[in-house]
């Protein structure tokens, strides 16, 4: 491109030069001719004048010349052979001019008699063609083009050389980078052509790749370790859960049994304290396990229909005694448009309310506590957000502690644990439970005046139970009292822990289940089922020889008919969500976690008996 620009500029310049020199030459020639033509004009000697013009023959490019006299009549003429012009008339000009066209220059000059006051005595007309210029131009252009081509070739050669040295390494570099980003293969390296800047760049790049590769290896190792640790933690949780709950279950259960026996007032009081303590312990244990679960993201939420009124009632009953004891004023209210039946996790809602109300009760010495439920807003897909407000006139929370209150392991003050007890996990768990259900929780508080906690959770609105369901429920409730059925039902309990076994057996017996068979492991369950008619199996999961999962799978795969589909309820100490899924996958029908409420057990048993 530069070449052609150069050619163009050169040609333009050259043309100017040519024009100028041609003009000068033409002028000079015209002057000479004009000068020599004065005498012939003065003496009217056109022959001599023509003779003078003939001298123009020697100029290869002058094709015509003509002299006009004072009266502008043709006086003398010169023509070359190939001249087609035949100008006998011309337009008068006031001063000497040169007319320039693409084909010729025409000089028009006054012939002046200097001796007589520069009088114009005639006109000289000279036509010069530009053939020589055109040829010259053609030569110039072709020469330039050849030079341009040579230079271009030269440039090409140099550029290809440069390419090897500069462009190629860079292209290779960018190619490797591209491959890297596509395949993320950090073992790629670039070959180095030399020690110049490009080479250094490539060196640096290779070094970088080295570092990345090593770091990757380390990261992978670290990740594997982290995963292993997480698995170990999981396992530990499961084990601990089981290990702790099993004896806890026994304590709570047997304490309850004891409470239902004949006791002295003193004994009752002692038992009562044990009960309280064990319940507290249970709460704390659950908190810790819940916390760990949430931290490792292992919380699932139920979507079962429940009655909001039942939940509120339950809360009310739970804290009735304590509130009366502290002589506090307690109210529960519901706003308009709050649906009664919801689809969601009632247990978790309960947990949150228990935590908040529990705190309210704990930290209020006088005044009142209130629970309000309001309809916040409707969302699409038949969902509504319900706002819960738990308010008290207690000690309040200082401003500087407000933002930390939801943080794990913190309490409002360092004294709180000593004065009020608690793990400091309750609010954290509540916050996480609320947020995991797509809600939000926040508070308002003024020291010595009181605290109000707000939280909302979106719940799907549920239809109230149909007539059939109610019928079924009431049927079930009535059937509970049908002694005969209970007495006829054969229950197989699989439990390796003697204490727990004793507990369950006692519970069931009290409920008038008289036919109870026990097994100590999965194998015994299978053997017993083979030889006996069983109505329902209560299966512990962790047993020696064969555990609950295996036994259940065996039954589902190897028995036929009624025995194959026998209802199996898992009874387990570990309340880890994944375990529940594994139970279901193994073929179990339901799941109860220890410690359980006796009613829960009964309801489930009745339910599955009913299903038959």
């Amino acid at each position: 491109m530069t070449q052609f620009l150069g050619v163009f500029l050169y040609v333009t310049f050259d043309k100017r030069q040519f024009q100028r020199s041609t003009q000068q030459e033409l002028d000079m020639i015209s002057n000479i001719i004009a000068n020599n033509s004065v005498a012939p004009l003065l003496f009217n000697d056109s022959l001599e004048s023509s003779h003078i013009l003939q001298s123009l023959k020697s100029h290869p490019n002058i094709t015509m010349a003509c002299i006009f006299n004072e009266k502008k009549q043709p006086f003398a003429r010169y023509n070359t052979h190939n001249n087609f012009q035949n100008r006998s008339v011309f337009s008068p000009v006031n001063k000497d001019t040169v007319v320039m066209s693409d084909t010729s220059f025409i000089s028009i000059k006054h012939i002046i008699d200097q001796t007589e006051n520069a009088k114009t005595i005639g006109y000289l007309y000279v036509v010069r063609d530009l053939n020589d210029y055109h040829q010259h131009l053609a030569k110039v252009i072709s020469a330039n083009i050849i030079i341009a081509i040579i230079l271009i070739l030269f440039a090409l050669i140099i550029s290809t050389q440069l390419q090897k040295i500069i462009s190629q390494p860079i292209l290779r570099l960018s190619g490797v980078v591209k491959k890297l980003s596509q395949k993320l293969d950090f073992s790629l390296r670039i070959s180095k052509p030399g020690n110049d800047e490009i080479g250094q760049l490539i060196d640096g790049f290779n070094h970088l790749l080295n570092t990345i590769e090593e770091q990757n290896k380390e990261l992978v190792l670290a990740k594997d370790e982290a995963i292993k640790l997480a698995q170990i933690k999981q396992q530990f949780l499961a084990n601990m859960s089981h290990e702790i709950r099993t004896p806890m279950n026994a304590i709570v259960g047997i304490t309850n049994l004891l409470l239902n026996t004949a006791l002295t007032a003193e004994q009752k009081e002692y038992l009562h304290h044990i009960n309280m303590s064990s319940n507290n312990l249970l709460v704390i244990l659950n908190d810790i396990l819940d916390f760990s679960k949430i931290e490792s993201g292992k919380v699932n939420f139920e979507k079962i229909r429940f009655n909001l009124n039942d939940t509120l009632d339950n809360i009310s009953k739970m804290f009735e005694a304590k509130i009366k004891e502290k002589a506090l004023f307690f109210t529960i209210s519901k706003g308009p448009n709050v649906p009664a039946f919801l689809m969601g996790d009632q247990v978790r809602l309960n947990q949150i309310l228990i935590n908040l109300v529990g705190n309210a009760v704990k930290f209020t010495e006088q005044g009142s506590i209130s629970i309000q439920v309001q309809h916040k807003q409707d969302l699409p897909n038949n969902v509504c957000e319900l706002l819960f407000i738990v308010s008290d006139t207690g000690i309040g929370i200082p401003d500087d502690r407000k933002k930390d209150i939801f943080e794990s392991f913190t309490q409002a003050s360092n004294d709180t644990t000593r004065k009020y007890g608690g793990t400091g996990l309750g609010l954290t768990i509540s916050k996480q439970l609320v947020e995991l259900q797509n809600g939000r929780i926040w508070l308002e508080s003024e020291e010595h005046k009181g605290t109000t906690f707000y939280f909302y959770i979106p719940y799907e609105k549920a239809n109230p139970p149909s007539l059939e369901e109610l019928q079924l429920k009431s049927d079930m409730e009535t059937r509970i009292f049908q002694k005969e059925i209970l007495e006829q039902t054969v229950i197989l309990i699989a439990e390796d822990n003697a204490l727990n076994l004793f507990l369950i057996k006692t519970l069931l017996t009290k409920q008038r289940f008289s036919h109870i068979i026990t097994a100590a492991n999965g194998q015994e369950v299978i053997d017993i089922l083979k030889d006996n008619d069983i109505d329902i199996i209560l299966m512990d999961l962790h047993m020696p020889v064969m555990d609950g999962f295996e036994a259940t799978q065996f039954i589902r795969n190897n028995f036929t008919g009624k025995k194959q589909h026998i209802p199996i309820i898992a009874i387990t100490a570990a309340a880890i969500a994944s375990e529940k899924e594994i139970c279901m996958e193994s073929g179990m029908d339901d799941y109860l976690s220890k410690p359980f409420k006796p009613n829960e057990l009964f309801e489930k048993i009745i339910f599955y008996l009913q299903k038959k």
Binding site: V38, A39, F43, T115, E116
Partner: protein, 181 residues
Amino acid sequence: MKLKISIGLFLLVGNLTLVAQQYTEYELKSAYIFNFAKFIEFPPNTFNSDKDPYIIGVYGNEAFLEVLQAVIHGKTINNRSVIAINISQPEDALNCKMIYFSRTSITQALTIIEFLNGKPILTIGDNIEDFCQKGGMINFTQQFSHKRFEINPDAAARVKITISSKLLALARIVKDEEVKF
């Protein structure tokens, strides 16, 4: 006196017979005579000053003089005014720069020329026979001649008058027949 009368008569006759063409011919020749001056160089100090007029003398043809005077009226040569006079006596010739002999015989002309005695004065003849051959400088030729006039450059050179080659180119060059000192 007698000569004058005869010349005058001759001229008159000559005039009468040429009355139709005469005017243009005289104009033309007047123009030529005037133009000759442009191609003549006199030796230095021929003129006393730049203001000195260029005097053309006419011998033997008063009618021509009138025409010449009309033609050169108001013109200048190299900013000198140009005037024409009649030469009735030889003394008149001495003031002129150019003398035009018209309707004169060669003898008469040569007499005047002799009288000039080497002064730098251009002598022009009106188609006088052998004018240039016998020492005159410029002589008009016959009508329709190839060249309009003939010139004897040596004659001019003798009195140190330079005639431009441009003028010479237009003339028929004549050499001295015999040298006359």
